[in-house]
Symmetry: C2
Subunit: 341 residues, 2 copies
Amino acid sequence: MGKPTMADVAAHAGVSRALVSLVMRDSPKVSPQRRAAVRKAAAELGYSPHVMARALASRTSTVVGVMVNDLRNAFFADVVEGLDAAAQAAGFDLILNTGGRVPAREGNALRSLLSFRPAGIVLLSPVVPAAEIEAAARQCPVVLVSRTSRLGGVDTVNDDGEAGSALAVEHLIGLGHRRIAHLDGGGAAGAAARRRGFRRAMRARGLEPIVVRSEHTDTAGEKAVQELLSGYHRTGLPTALLAGNDFNAVGAISALTENGLRVPEDVSVVGYDNTSLASLRHLCLTTVDQPRTEMGRLALEALLERVRGERTEPVRHLLHPSLVVRNTTARHRDEDQEAGR
Amino acid sequence: MGKPTMADVAAHAGVSRALVSLVMRDSPKVSPQRRAAVRKAAAELGYSPHVMARALASRTSTVVGVMVNDLRNAFFADVVEGLDAAAQAAGFDLILNTGGRVPAREGNALRSLLSFRPAGIVLLSPVVPAAEIEAAARQCPVVLVSRTSRLGGVDTVNDDGEAGSALAVEHLIGLGHRRIAHLDGGGAAGAAARRRGFRRAMRARGLEPIVVRSEHTDTAGEKAVQELLSGYHRTGLPTALLAGNDFNAVGAISALTENGLRVPEDVSVVGYDNTSLASLRHLCLTTVDQPRTEMGRLALEALLERVRGERTEPVRHLLHPSLVVRNTTARHRDEDQEAGR
DNA sequence: CTGCTTGATTAGAGCGCTCTAATCTTGTAA
DNA sequence: TTACAAGATTAGAGCGCTCTAATCAAGCAG
């Protein structure tokens, strides 16, 4: 059972433990013969260094702690993929746990990660109080994804939700739409920025922003559209909708269709997140895409910069979203073009 | 920067390091006064034990290695959630990496996990050769999820794909369908079992199984239906479809609708996996659900049983799927009830 | 042949913890 | 008072590695 240790390899190769250590770390100051001999011995015994012992002795960790609140959320899964890819490339390993968006649980998760004395920690959309984050940042570099922070020792990686909404609004205006409504995401992560971006983009074009309170689910999207339909005279209805996310958009489309309104002929709909849902040929949803994997990569890079001591000032990454135009948006019918104003 | 160590706490509390160690591990053989004093000192210094040092000294690991080939796949994300929940409850931590379903990368990932000398390893649908798995199993307990194995030292947790297909077939037959086609998943993980289950269930009822080669994507589902439509006379068409997974089902539904066939009035469709997709009110897909989180929980439990030495014979969990009936399946119209035979 | 430089190798301490065995306290029975 | 068991505490070795400083070997100028 017991794996071979460095001493075993040293004995087998007829050298000292220190030499084995040097070879395992690819030190240049080892003669080719010795190197080969040690390599051979290691291979024969199936030896590989004990990462934890190494971390302890070298006082440097190759472990990065990652706390995610929900892996089922495709957004986080993608970010973790990006983190993992970058970590593997840099020779780091991820230790991962979930906080479920519950402050107490997240606190435990964070403490658990810290007890590994990791090289750094990445927190995905955490809800723990800033004080706890600050405390963690005193122990190791901390990077926040999808959460802003003013803390000096903490880097952040966010998608530019405002810009994403603006992108969608510009697209719709470009198609001739003027009455555009946003079904917002309430208190969900990132919803505030999307809402803000929508309002600003509309006002910047001299249009009145219509915001309907909703949530990031399909049923909420349906309900929001029902409200919209009952609250407006048919002629004054928005001709385009910017949903809070893709699920919400799907719900909205359902409700529109059930009420005899065709998408995109009668109403254009834009989603947000570009989930696997959106690309289904069944839906072909126009939506806003965030570079999620890239966010993970950048987060790990920011961490490594601090680990290597290359930087001490905080960095604030704000990633540009892009619009993926599919089949749920179309040019506004000209008939009542100016009637609504 | 440097976190306090056990010696710091000992000095601060005026006791020995060993006593601190006992308190941190909740040993009963410590007097209440000392315990309180140590606890207080630890709190004041913000001390928490170094997991890696502990693992090294105690020769027992509280780390479980998890290799997943793709987190974007909701199936694996759910299993990892289950693993994490069970691990947290048992005081274990997950170290996670991805293999991308590429044997060489998976090999690296596996080696990387082993170098932590983990308590055990969970492999989610790995493609590495059995020999590598066997080698890993000699070093620590290994549990395979979504992959069968005959290895004696390896536990497995699988969903019963055959049973799932049978469930769907029985449901459809109960609705009066007799001409039922399966759009299979080709070489995808689990596809073979689903296909087999379909064939057996059909034959057991004296019906001829129709299998159309497809894949686990929506576009493949569309194509499969197109083939089906062009290959059969309208009257001889299957009246029900069992798709390889939910994505495939969505594609199939799109193609059916485009060809003027209504779901479920003209053709019933059953998906597989019960992804978030299926529950969308827009689709309301009847589908087969696997207890994914439960699979993760069971996998970790199996691991812990071995860690605790409670069991040495391998265990083979085969979880029962269940059918989630929604709106894409309906009673077969009676008109040509017996005509097809 | 000596002294010195350079490069290769090794001894040994130490990372922060656990664990065994020894030591120190008490309380209590003789 | 002594003896001893039982409980509480601690000294010290060791987990598998790294790292510093010391040692060793070889080459070469003087």
